[in-house]
């Protein structure tokens, strides 16, 4: 589904990602983890076509990301960013409706089908009651869920999420993670910091350390006390399938 071929990203002299190669299987949730500043967001931006890696190629369905038009790519990949813009003067419904843009012709109004998809995505993310609210009238968590609804409305096989649950309370965190779990056909790359939440809901893990890929594979095999100590410098042990920090 997604292939990373020797991805290297440099900003000036600083190396953010160093020769990352991996294949990400379709239909699975992959947790992208690692300490702050280790290149997780940069990787997602490369996959989403928002930036060009300094070297290497990102393949989506065996074609380089750069070979897709913006419109074609937006039908393949949706992106939920870390911080949503709060000063937008559109209602939540209009914002989610923007997610239908890659399927619409110019000067054409949204169809009934578009409206139904938007309603369905907003109900899934528990935002339907907010449909007339503007971003500045919503809480951070509500706005985040609206942005997730918009990404779902794009109906893409690939979903990239940069810390989508970091701003949410535990109930909404679980709700969003369960929603992703239920989207079985989607390939999801999610940057997430909560080790136990990742362990509970994700299939695979890409663990980054200093711009390199330390581990890729099933998540249970990756979140070992050794790896956690090496990457985060935090001692821990596993108990009943959960990670307990020894602090």
């Amino acid at each position: 589904m997604i292939g990373l071929r020797h991805i290297t990203v440099r900003f000036g002299k600083r190396e953010i990602l160093n020769d990352i190669s991996a294949d990400i299987a379709g239909g699975r949730i992959t947790a992208v983890m690692g300490p702050n500043g280790c290149g997780k967001t940069t990787l997602l931006r490369c996959v989403g076509g928002l930036m060009q890696p300094t070297g290497g190629d990102v393949l989506i369905d065996d074609n380089p990301v750069g070979s897709y038009s913006a419109r074609a790519l937006a039908q393949k990949v949706a992106f939920v960013r870390q911080q949503a813009q709060t000063d937008l003067d559109f209602s939540a419904f209009e914002i989610v409706l923007m997610g239908r843009n890659p399927y619409q012709k110019r000067l054409q109004n949204e169809s009934k089908a578009d409206w139904d998809i938007v309603e369905q995505c907003m109900r899934q993310t528990n935002t339907w009651h907010l449909r007339f609210a503007k971003p500045n009238q919503m809480s951070g968590g509500e706005l985040q869920r609206v942005m997730i609804a918009r990404a779902l409305a794009q109906q893409t096989p690939v979903l990239l999420m940069d810390e989508p649950v970091s701003n949410l309370d535990i109930a909404h965190q679980l709700e969003i993670m369960r929603l992703l779990r239920n989207a079985k056909e989607k390939t999801i790359l999610i940057v997430i910091h909560d080790l136990n939440l990742a362990l509970q809901f994700c299939d695979d893990l890409m663990l980054f350390h200093g711009g390199s890929l330390l581990y890729q594979g099933p998540i249970a095999g990756g979140l070992t006390p050794e790896n956690i100590r090496e990457v985060y410098g935090v001692p821990s042990h596993a108990a009943e399938g959960r990670i307990i920090y020894d602090y």
């Binding site: 989403g48 937008l88 209009e94 923007m98 843009n101 009238q137």
Partner: protein, 327 residues
């Protein structure tokens, strides 16, 4: 207050009503000016057909163009306080026009508007370069850059005027803005019309992309908008329109700020509605302002630019105040 509004394109009935209103306003406003006409005497009147009508048509075109450009700039720069005047693009165009006049290019076809376009484009590019930090436009930097450009350019123009007394009148005309009938003929209208039609058409064509741009460049890109291409095309065509408007009637301020803003307060932020409604409302607004400019101090004339500001600014403040209360 959360109001329900059906998202989507502009309502055809509203567009039709506004078009009829514009046509009626054009018919009525043509009758008033330095000379007032009666319906039965206009048929054979040279003054009416050669001076009054082109002036009325030009004011409609310029009003439409400035309002549409304002709406487009506000989305491209993601800032509700931008318009061709505030950004200094109009001033940039007036500098080109002034230099062209001094160089004696007035007689050359496209001489004045060509140089106005060049300096206006240069201004846009410089402002864009200076005010963009990463992929965000910084509001304060953007507005201050615009103000500085306007001040710098008006200083340069004053300097040029002092050096060239004999051409002072011509240059003042560009900096104050007016639909002076001795300068606006049918030829000017025939130049402005295709520019306005094509330019406004381009903005309408990209009106949904303008919505996406409001959400930010990266967001727009991940929702399938070719951000760089769209921005380049829109900046080129809007600047083209502003340059032609400025070379035919000078700098008329605040139209591009007030009209889209007022429209937005009524119909919401969706550019598929804001652009066409602004086009018609802006045309009516400038038409009425110019009619007042040539009638209130008869036989003298007010610069229409000062009138658009006098009418527009309080209205703008009132609308802003009203929208604040509704939260």
């Amino acid at each position: 207050m959360v109001k329900e509004r059906k998202p989507g394109r502009a309502n055809l009935w509203v567009l039709l009503a506004l078009t009829l209103l514009l046509a009626a306003a054009m018919a009525v406003c043509s009758l008033f000016g330095a000379v007032d006409f009666e319906w039965d005497e206009i048929r054979d009147s040279q003054i009416f057909w050669q001076l009054r009508v082109p002036r009325v048509v030009m004011s409609v075109l310029v009003g439409a163009v400035l309002s549409v450009c304002g709406a487009a700039y506000q989305s491209i720069f993601r800032n509700p306080l931008t318009d061709p005047y505030v950004l200094g693009v109009s001033s940039g165009a007036s500098l080109g026009a002034a230099v062209a006049i001094l160089l004696g290019w007035g007689a050359i076809q496209w001489g004045v508007s060509g140089l106005a376009l060049a300096t206006a484009l240069l201004t846009v590019l410089l402002i864009y370069k200076i005010a963009s930090i990463g992929n965000r436009m910084h509001t304060t930097t953007l507005l201050l850059t615009g103000v500085c450009f306007t001040l710098l350019i008006s200083a340069v123009i004053s300097f040029l005027m002092v050096l060239n007394h004999e051409k002072m009148d011509d240059i003042i005309f560009w900096t104050m803005g007016s639909f002076d009938p001795s300068r606006i003929s049918w030829e000017d209208v025939w130049v402005m019309l295709p520019v306005a039609v094509v330019g406004i058409g381009v903005v309408l064509w990209y009106s949904r992309d303008l919505n996406l741009l409001l959400a930010g460049s990266e967001e727009a890109r991940s929702m399938g908008c070719e951000v760089e291409k769209v921005k380049r095309v829109l900046l080129l065509f809007t600047t083209l329109m502003v340059a032609f408007a400025v070379s035919s009637c000078g700098v008329i301020g605040f139209v591009g700020l007030i009209v889209p803003h007022a429209v937005r307060l009524v119909v919401g932020a969706d550019n598929r509605r804001v652009v066409p409604y602004s086009l018609l409302c802006g045309a009516i607004f400038v038409l009425v302002c110019d009619t007042l400019a040539r009638t209130v101090l008869r036989p003298g004339e007010l610069p229409v630019g000062s009138l658009t500001s006098i009418i527009g600014a309080p209205l703008f403040i009132y609308l802003l105040y009203k929208s604040k209360k509704s939260y």
